[in-house]
Symmetry: C2
Subunit: 598 residues, 2 copies
């Protein structure tokens, strides 16, 4: 059975020493999040994740969800009780506004907690993650009545939330969607259509489920400009907000899938279900993007979270499993064999995962802090800058953290040899669970296109120029720091590759957009490596500063940062050159074959 230990200290190091969270105290909610409050919250969350959720992870995989003939869906044994604990602990409302029952703490803190929950039990954490996404969307786009009706119950966890976008014939291309909304005299709409791949579409955890549904109002334009967003509760509500009876929403079937068995993936049938318009008519995609962006960062976090728990178990196994001898002679001559962690190829695997995880966590928290600035700051310029950075980095975090996170679960599984392939060790479940994160909320190829086709050129390239400027000014500010030079030099080289690739797109993709399309995924990963390399410089800088200040008993842990960061720049960062070479090869050989040759 795999185990999990939440990286509480690493999160605190990032918040306090790398990102100096106290500098954000002018934002609402941050002053309440003093270091001791943060420590208490993280410790409690860790305990809940480690002791309640982690033991249910394999149960959830084995048992899966069951749809009963009447359309009800049961979640795996223990999920209901754990979900109640989650709600009772107030975890769903950690960063929700106080007026709806939340604690108003930084969303950044919620991100830290989410990593723990996902590592412990991804299928479970999806239920709560989707509620939080739906809360965001209603908060921003809903009217006062909708907020008052839905948010308190959702923040408390009594009601869940879902996103309903995909239909059988349309996933990425939402312009094709067919679900209809017929206006009613009372201002509501009758929603009719079929949605697929709806995570948590039906379950037995909550009394009600608030579905956010994309549909086309009768007579609306074809394509994406005729799509509206509706809120459709599973159970109709009486005027006082209590449950009336079933609305016309039902789960037609649940999918048999590769992983995340503990989460019900439903086909949802809407038959004249009553719903209400959220935001403006025909502007549904806009509203849904609020939820999508929240969800995309959450999905990136899933990549990291599974990479982390897979790493932990591989490291433990590598220290325990005795097999063979170190290449330069027995390390433990008294034992029948050495633990496999003495072998450089095993170390390579462990270090590769770790060097990614620690920087990925930094990147996620940096983005989360920018999210808090974008949503809470009173300074319009600061909001704009943070919003730019988030827009630019959301596809990078979603695409790179899930691609690499998945690859890392495969690497970690490999450490177990044949035992990694056997279900009872749990490593293969991490691989199966992590796989979905590369697909949903926009398959990673779409993330890459979003980055290259939309985010790069947006506002005349303002966001990418600001990113370059930030990294360059950091390098300039620390140019005389000799201890940082071995990290800064490779970062500079990698940044050069990213700039060259950006320039190449500007020169070659305007007239021939396939040149951008064919290089998009490589560009996304090149970008990710630069962003992670930048994070490593900031981590090493912080570790050095702390070491110079006496390290507070943490010297050993801080020194690991220096080594792991060096591994990153020596072993993972050189990949930027290969990405650049592929981008500069252009689209010709990619696109040249006629369709019938495939």
């Amino acid at each position: 059975m795999p185990t999990y230990k939440a990286p509480v200290e690493d999160v605190q190091f990032l918040l306090n020493d790398v990102f100096h969270v106290e500098r954000y105290d002018n934002l609402p909610g941050f002053a309440d999040a003093s270091p001791d409050v943060v420590e208490a919250i993280l410790s409690e969350a860790a305990k809940f994740a480690e002791e309640v959720l982690a033991p249910l992870n394999r149960v959830g995989d084995l048992e899966g969800c069951t749809r009963h003939p009447d359309g009800r869906v049961s979640t795996p044994k223990g999920f209901k009780e754990a979900y109640k604990q989650l709600c009772d602990g107030g975890w769903l409302g950690l960063s929700a506004p106080a007026e709806y029952g939340g604690q108003g703490l930084p969303a950044t803190l919620n991100t830290c907690v989410s990593e723990f929950l996902i590592s412990a039990n991804m299928a479970f954490a999806m239920y709560s993650g989707l509620v939080q996404g739906a809360v965001s969307a209603i908060l921003i786009h809903g009217d006062d009545a909708q907020k008052k009706t839905f948010l308190p119950k959702m923040v408390a966890g009594e009601w869940a939330g879902t996103m309903n976008l995909t239909e059988p014939h349309c996933g990425t291309d939402l312009g094709l969607l067919r679900t209809k909304a017929a206006p009613q005299p009372d201002g509501s709409y009758k929603i009719t259509g079929t949605k697929i791949f709806i995570s948590g579409g039906e379950q037995d955890l909550t009394d009600n489920i608030i579905h956010l549904v994309l549909a086309r109002i009768d007579g609306a334009p074809a394509g994406t400009k005729g799509i509206s967003l509706f809120v459709v509760p599973k159970m109709s509500l009486k005027p006082d907000g209590t449950l009336a009876g079933p609305n016309g929403v039902s789960c037609g079937s649940i999918e048999h899938k590769m992983g995340i068995h503990g989460n019900s993936t439903c086909v949802m049938n809407y038959e004249d279900a009553t719903g209400w318009l959220v935001g403006e008519a025909n502007r549904g995609l806009n509203a849904m993007f609020t939820m999508m962006n929240h969800a995309r960062l959450g999905v990136g976090l899933q990549g990291l979270a599974l990479s982390e728990v897979a790493y932990q178990n591989a490291a433990t196994y590598a220290k325990e499993r005795l097999q063979g001898r170190a290449l330069n002679g027995p390390a433990y001559p008294d034992k029948p064999a050495d633990p496999i962690i003495v072998h450089p190829d095993i170390r390579r695997v462990l270090m590769s995962i770790r060097a990614f995880n620690e920087a990925a966590r930094a990147l996620v928290l940096w983005m989360a802090l920018n999210g808090d600035v974008a949503h809470r700051s009173e300074d319009a310029k600061a909001r704009e800058a943070s919003d730019d950075l988030m827009g630019l980095l959301t596809p990078v975090i979603k695409g790179v953290l899930t691609d690499t996170g998945f690859a890392n679960t495969v690497l970690a599984q490999q450490v177990f040899g044949g035992h990694g392939y056997i279900a009872e060790h749990g490593m293969e479940q991490f691989v199966r669970d992590a796989r979905i994160a590369m697909i949903y909320e926009g398959a990673n190829g779409i993330q890459a296109l979003d980055l290259v086709g939309r985010k790069l050129p947006k506002d005349g390239g303002r966001a990418i120029m600001a990113f370059f400027a930030e990294v360059q000014s950091y390098m300039k500010d620390h140019a005389s720091d000799a201890a940082l030079k071995p990290y800064l030099d490779p970062l500079g080289k990698a940044l050069g590759h990213l700039q060259q690739a950006t320039m190449w797109f500007m020169q070659n993709a305007m007239k021939a957009p396939d040149n951008a399309g064919a290089g998009a995924t490589d560009y996304m990963h090149l970008f990710g490596l630069v962003a992670l390399g930048y994070m490593w410089c900031r981590i090493v800088e912080a570790a050095n500063a702390k070491l110079a200040n006496g390290a507070n008993g943490n010297a050993d842990r801080l020194k690991t940062k220096l080594v792991t960061g060096r591994f990153f720049v020596e072993r993972l960062l050189p990949e930027t050159a290969a990405h650049l070479a592929r981008i500069e090869a252009g689209a010709k050989s990619t696109m040249e074959l006629p369709v019938e040759a495939f």
Copy 2:
């Protein structure tokens, strides 16, 4: 439901036009394999794979194997009948010696057929692949009585074969094994111990199962030098060779695993089971390596075979699924959306897989031909050269074809978006099935170590020097071929990286072997890219020659080779630089952290 179409024409092109199989006609069996015989055999095999085995693939995954309380194991519905068809068709004995009932055809032809069977149904093909491996081992190491007793039944398919190496506490490090062999007065041994991960250890396909078992004779030295190989039939034999009664072998349980559910992975308990020594006492590892090398090439082939079938299904889906529009305007304005194959990122995926598959198939067949030379040639120098090349390339084929083959199944799954994650489309099964190939028959990290630590320095580097000489003389011979230059130049650069890496090991790993260990996996992949790049040059050369000769109506197909080869050198080959950079980084940051830091 996924479908499969065996690449018969591609195999014929490789045999006839790239490798000029007629030049091998001096070897036993090759003259019988005239082009029309080969065509007939490949077509029959294709039909069997496509029509009988492929439809059972998903059945096998869903149903899996069942162990009954009495220790019997049932394979999935339909496997038994299909296995009988396989045996009746003579497929098991295609390249086995005529004196044991085989057809004596080239082993190369058997390799071609095996790819088809594996693509169609990997779990099924493992049963027959293991019989063939056991036949090889007994052919080479068994005595006459053993050959006479076992081989005719095994070649006919009436009896199966297995390899029994792993024990709960020892996989890679066989020196730790504990299974005992007690000598008996009649010359037999009583075998006692527990073996795990035994593929096909028990099944209902055959009347008897011939287990090849590693065990330690009482009083033998500790470590790998005290291990002997035994043949242990599941059913004891009467003196006339017919079945007597059960021997002391039983299946204690079967594993629940990530994939290959149709193949029973057994814990095998030996309790005073009667066995006979195969080959010399204490030289069991040697004998087992015959089987292992056969099996390693077979496992490499699994990587290719799953990459191929996954590619085919992704290509079909990409041509059918309508979603979005081409970047430079609608390609099919009359349809509601374009098929996703118009998108460069989808093309990138398909081309990446295909550019690997076609060269990997060439590499496998080139090795298979060398195998036939090594086993059948009367020319001692030719045998030595082929044996050297096989020794060198076996870990490369096993490691690179399974790592990349698995990665390709993941890429192909991605083309399906959310549908790729759903079991009914079958793409996720390819991923789960392909995953094991990176692990068994020596995890890929072990292949890399075998390459770097054993195969490179062997005989003073004779094999690697011969490989370099072969590629260099090819490049020299074709230096004036302008049409080949765009392929030769990148190959030359990649070869330079490989030579530089080899030199780096010579200079840095003698005294510090961790430097070799930390770079081994990168070296293996660097080697693989060079070998595949070399194959692409030979493929393109052959395609150009055929095009110049009128192409025989195949011009379109031959031209795809030119484009796909260019994609390979532009998009996949540049990775060699990153591998070299990682190798030259050495072991320091990989090994520096203390064990307790993990």
